[in-house]
Symmetry: C2
Subunit: 223 residues, 2 copies
């Protein structure tokens, strides 16, 4: 019943036992699935258990349950129990959980080249793509803010909103976006990551509408 054997430790994985901030972070975040749960809560915001399960195809139900309990014990997640009329639980990130976003962003940036050759049976969720795109629009000049980017791909339309207090993503469309990018998800990501410049990306089917000057604020290669 009790999976904890060492009292005082809230993580399920065995600690590395190293007095090092990287190791301590991995003691909490390094379990399989843990950072993907944080990803889902960062993208989707407060989630029901089933919303999480839906955004984490492949996770076993007991593992999702275990990980949520660990995240809660470590202060990254809190659960809001809605009263009987609604009778559901909402899982929220705490401030400390939000503070882990730079880790997820760094992983997303490093991982982008890997989505080029991906097995055909990989699971797909549009919000993963939108979020992956948004991580390249975070270090921008503060001049041209706020800015909105409309993404149109076969996965459906989605929006990235860049404000001084952060970047948010959502499905759907926005009126008068500063930039509209249309094309295949991989091409859009390779362009935003700097792997392709504008000319190359257009050669691979990218269509861009809007003010190219706005792109400069994102340090993108408009050659």
């Amino acid at each position: 019943m009790d999976s904890q054997t060492v009292p005082g430790y809230a993580w399920s994985m065995k600690s590395y036992g190293q007095l090092c901030s990287v190791a301590k972070a991995l003691d909490v975040l390094g379990d399989r699935w843990t950072l993907l749960i944080v990803r889902e809560l960062l993208i989707q915001g407060p989630c029901r258990y089933t919303d999480l399960a839906n955004g984490l195809p492949g996770i076993a139900s007991n593992l999702l349950s275990d990980r949520l309990r660990s995240l809660e014990a470590n202060g990254l997640v809190w659960r809001e129990a809605a009263p009987p009329p609604v009778a559901t639980t909402l899982f929220h990130l705490t401030e400390r959980g939000q503070a882990a976003e730079p880790v997820v962003v760094a992983l997303a940036r490093w991982g982008t080249p890997l989505i080029a050759d991906t097995p055909p049976d990989d699971a797909i969720r549009p919000h993963w793509f939108t979020y992956s795109a948004s991580v390249f629009l975070r270090d921008h000049d503060p001049d041209g803010l706020p800015a909105t980017v409309q993404l149109n791909t076969p996965l459906g339309p989605s929006v990235i909103e860049i404000r001084t207090d952060g970047v948010s993503t959502r499905a759907g469309t926005v009126d008068n976006p500063d930039i509209t990018l249309e094309g295949m998800p991989q091409v859009i990501l390779r362009f935003l990551s700097g792997d392709l410049n504008l000319t190359e990306a257009q050669g691979q089917g990218l269509a861009l509408r809007g003010d190219p000057a706005v792109l400069a604020a994102f340090h993108l290669d408009t050659a």
Copy 2:
């Protein structure tokens, strides 16, 4: 012999099977010990097998061997086989491996608050502390460069050198550092992370020598 069952995949861990750059990054980096091996190679530079084992107390020898092979297969590590006179192997990070440093840095920053209450039997390596300190000196104004920081703690003296092309750390001392910080490792880290301002840190035994103006370039709270 062959631990791989799915042909074409170089990682040992089962893939998440998600078309998402975060999940793809974790397919490669998410195995236990993997990011700590990258940490060691980032800090120590090219390493012999035993150097790595020494910087990774607790790792099983077969796991270190397995992980190095995975990292090599995934293009993060390459091995330099020295000819018979030396008869040793040096493990290097590739450019792609170096590119994972932002992930390690983000983990180090997030994990710093966790080293406050740490079990007394945790392993200690001075270079972990120096590196953890250095991650807070990376986003600086380019004006006052290069800059050198001397750290003196009971773990021994060490140096952080901040140049336009990056930040490096090493054990030992430097002549005429721009800043010298003396005190307990935890206090120095809490000060550099912004968790303590200068006055608070000095109240906990931090001694600072050098030009406080240099600190401003690191966005540190000199109140």
